[in-house]
């Protein structure tokens, strides 16, 4: 590949997505460069989660093109698998495997998908658990951990696959307020290390300090995208202004 550096890591061209007759995404055009940190915000039901779930094919788009690091997402299973190896995901409800210990949660996909040996995958799992600052929880089960700890484990689990991109789907929305910062801290560290991130979140402080670009969505459309300063201080669209007034009013 000669154009490795100029080619965007994620390319969405005129993407539509329907759930039955409801149109969840309308004509989405989006390019994300390597190392970029994108925050997506918007009212609930605006298609934010659907957008990032299309990127790793948890949802299948109905029209348009999605190309991840040169691989176009179609029905081809090998291509979907290849994309999923490059794209990590962190969910709102953590989605740890309840019947496995923490360290097993981090090892299972390494062993099955990347065919890493048991010893190697355990080593890597412990390294990432240390990075999210909970190595001492390795042999516990998910339910024994607090929500914030579980979400940090979920981030470590995604990192164990050494992805190019990580998608965050409202990672702090299910957390008690006192646990939000421990998760955001981990995400800020990741951002500093140059990870390509797309984050659906309502944490506007995080968005302002970390994002390269903020995307505002409403009714399945990208209404506005801008750098944080411009986005918060000088929003162009009326809908963006109304949304910001609502969430920043307190």
């Amino acid at each position: 590949m000669t154009d490795d550096n100029s080619r965007p890591l994620i390319q969405m061209v005129k993407v539509d997505k329907f759930f039955g007759s409801f149109q969840a995404l309308r004509n989405i055009d989006l390019e994300v460069q390597k190392g970029e940190r994108i925050v997506i915000c918007g009212p609930s039901g605006s298609g934010k989660s659907t957008l990032i779930r299309c990127i790793n094919r948890l949802e299948k788009h109905n029209a348009g093109e999605i190309i991840i690091d040169g691989i176009e997402l179609t029905d081809k299973v090998e291509d979907i698998d290849a994309v999923r190896r490059e794209v990590g995901m962190v969910f709102q409800n953590f989605n740890l495997f309840p019947h496995m210990t923490i360290v097993k949660n981090l090892m299972i996909a390494q062993q099955l998908v990347r065919k890493t040996s048991k010893d190697e995958s355990r080593k890597l799992a412990m390294r990432y658990l240390e990075r999210v600052k909970i190595p001492e929880q390795a042999d516990k089960y998910p339910i024994q951990l607090s929500g914030g700890q579980q979400q940090r484990v979920a981030i470590a689990r995604a990192l164990c696959m050494e992805p190019e991109i990580i998608l965050f789907d409202e990672p702090t929305s299910a957390l008690d307020p006192e646990m939000i910062n421990e998760v955001l801290d981990v995400m800020v560290d990741l951002a500093k290390e140059g990870m390509t991130m797309i984050c659906v979140t309502h944490e506007m402080g995080f968005a302002r300090s970390v994002a390269d670009r903020i995307i505002f969505m409403d009714e399945g459309e990208i209404v506005e995208q801008a750098e944080p300063a411009a986005f918060f201080d000088n929003p162009k669209s009326e809908r963006t202004r109304a949304f910001l007034d609502q969430i920043l009013s307190h």
Partner: protein
């Protein structure tokens, strides 16, 4: 108690037969239940219809009737088939052990179909999504995520199915399987002591069911170590 002298070994062999029927029908019951659940959960309309017919019929008719119909029905069918090859054959006898085992496995399997179906649907979609997002294949997700999560959900009702199964073995005496109830009937004709002879059968079955209940409790405790017990 003296009346029982001489009958102990008959009861013992009867109990062995109960155990054998239970073991064989347990395996078949799980198999029927899994096939039924898979059919009901599949996108195939025909498979769904067949599975629905199966659960409607076997949950909706008396168990003893199913055993009788299966025993005599299979004998008639097999006889007809055999007569094609050798017209001199009068009657093909189906072993009551297998007719009875298959019959009760089909009956309890129809209940297990619903249990397994519910358990598969009870697995959190989040776990499955996480596995898929990590790049695990559908088969890997099924083996490492769905099955380990579903059996924990299915276990308590499954314990009840095992109890039904072991108790249903007594029904097979009607087609001449010499299990404990059959032994008791023979002993009664000789000794004329129905109460004593039936009580022994009751005690034997209580022994089996207690064993099953205790095992299920043990397995449940093991399965729950990751959830409730872990707190």
């Amino acid at each position: 108690m003296e009346v029982l002298t001489g009958w102990w070994d008959d009861y013992l062999w009867g109990a062995v037969i109960v155990a054998k029927v239970f073991a064989a029908s347990l395996l078949l019951m799980v198999l029927f239940g899994l096939i039924g659940a898979a059919a009901k959960l599949s996108d195939n309309r025909v498979a769904q219809k067949i599975a629905n017919g199966y659960t409607v019929i076997f949950r909706g008719t008396p168990e003893i009737l199913v055993i009788l119909l299966l025993y005599f029905g299979s004998a008639i069918v097999l006889t007809a088939i055999a007569q094609v090859f050798d017209p001199d054959i009068r009657f093909v006898d189906v072993p009551p052990f297998w007719a009875g085992t298959i019959a009760i496995a089909l009956i309890v399997g129809s209940y297990a179909t619903e249990t397994f179906r519910g358990a598969f649907l009870g697995v959190k979609p989040g776990s499955i999504e996480a596995a898929r997002a990590l790049g695990m294949s559908p088969l890997q997700t099924f083996i490492y995520i769905r099955i380990p999560e579903m059996w924990r959900i299915a276990l308590p009702p499954f314990g009840n199915h095992m109890l039904s199964l072991v108790k249903d073995t007594a029904l097979i005496s009607i087609i001449g399987l010499n299990e404990t109830l059959f032994v008791a009937k023979q002993a009664i004709t000789v000794t004329g002591k129905p109460f004593t002879m039936y009580i022994v059968v009751g005690i034997i079955y209580l022994g089996f069911s207690s064993l099953i209940t205790l095992s299920v409790m043990g397995i449940e405790k093991f399965g729950n170590r990751t959830t409730v017990g872990a707190r």
